[in-house]
Amino acid sequence: MPNAKSPDAVIIDYGVGNLFNVQRALDLLGASSVISGKPEDILSAKKLILPGVGAFEAGMRYLNERGLVSAIRKRAAEGCPVLGICLGMQLLMTHSEEGGSHDGLNLIAGKVRRFQAPNNGQSYKIPQIGWNRLTLASKGGNWRDTLLNGLDEAPCMYFVHSYCVYPESAQAWLAQTEYGQDRFCSVLLQDNIQGCQFHPERSGEMGLRILKNFISKK
């Protein structure tokens, strides 16, 4: 459990991706953080951020080898707020089809699937690299008191990915995004578990607002 010395957030280091830009964003927002790959830091975290760039299988293997899977699952079960970013969001799911068929952390029921390839006459690129819009995933829903609190309607965020997240429960879809022939879950929320397919730390002031919402929420 957290103690007086616990930082505002633990950024989980699992050997992939650029963790420093997440930390720089938290620094700017005045939040303390440590980058750590130790189970004891995860078990005493006030908040957990699972960032990531890279391959699903390599990410899960690293987490398993360091004993981090059980630590993350335990701390999440205790109600600790968790934010998965990009690959980190995908790792929250039950299962991914990237590079075969691999199990994830299973904090959210659902799958990770690749973008459909362009048909004849379509010209979009995979991976999606660039800015795209978030829209409300459900009619009559809203973003009040969530990660997306205070954002403009249909804000643009920076995405870099070939695979997408599809939570089973419609309630877990906080925002969705369209690319090519697919409409995927770009922000998920289920109890204390949250995820962004885009990079909030690379999405300008709107992205910083999301991190601020995550850090400041009790």
Binding site: V16, N18, F20, N21, R24, A25, D27, L28, V53, G54, A55, S123, K125, I126, P127, I129, G130, W131, N132, G150, L151, D152, A154, P155, C156, Y158, V160, H199, E201, R202, S203, G204, E205, M206, G207, L208, R209
Partner: protein
Amino acid sequence: MVRIIPRLDIKGPNVVKGIQFDGNRVLGTPDALAEIYYREGADELIFYDTVASLYRRNSLLEYIRKTAAKIFIPMTVAGGIRSVEDIREILRAGADKVAINTAAIENPNLLKEAAQIFGSQCIVASIEFYQTTHGGYEVWTDYGRQPTGIDAFDWARRAVDLGAGEILLTSIRRDGMGNGFDVDFTSKVAKAVPVPVIAGGGAGKKEDFLSVIAQGAADAVSAASVFHYYYATAPGDNRRWMSFDESRLRMGEDIDSGNIDFLKDGYGGYKNIMVNHVGLPELKNYLDECGVPVRGLAYAKR
């Protein structure tokens, strides 16, 4: 959405801009310009160490660190990147991607190795080319100094096979000239490779952006002069972004580098150069009106 990417050519402590990769003039400091472009809605930034490939090292780490603490959009670093260790250092300093030209031509395996270690998403193949007299396109290295005999189209496809996640295409002949992008070659490459293509070299007016996007199939567009000189000289509100003094066209510290004379004299006597400076918001509004999907300009206040 199509990305608009200001490119900062850097020499020593300064952002510079030249013509056809030559005659660089000082414009400001990298972190100051980067912050202006961030506030004005740039979708990404490219930092290009202009002398690095000649000296075989990239000296931008300090600026990347400084900038990474203040701006939160993707940053690509180019120039003089020669090894996996170089890449690791640059990414740790806060860059999201590296763009590699000279070292990849000398050792194509670098692209492969780097993509395996860091992921294709952060490895950009930078292809700087001249159109040959036979209508072909040839790769040049060492900041536009060295012909290679390598066909730029073939190299683009090979670079993607090796692991490059994006292609940055720069026409050396059009660099700084403001006479428009090489739309034909951009289109040929963009339609042949499965990864995004960033068009560069030749932006002189907003219509040039539209044609390289609409006809050239560019996924992103990089430009320098057209933005730099706008923010250096635009009247009214935009001036407030720069502590700009006509006698000393450099932000931050005092240096007169002859830029104003250069501008007033019709681009140093290059009478055929016509750059209609444009600000990022104006450009994006224009593209939006023309039906090009671009990132909107409203952002949350900090």
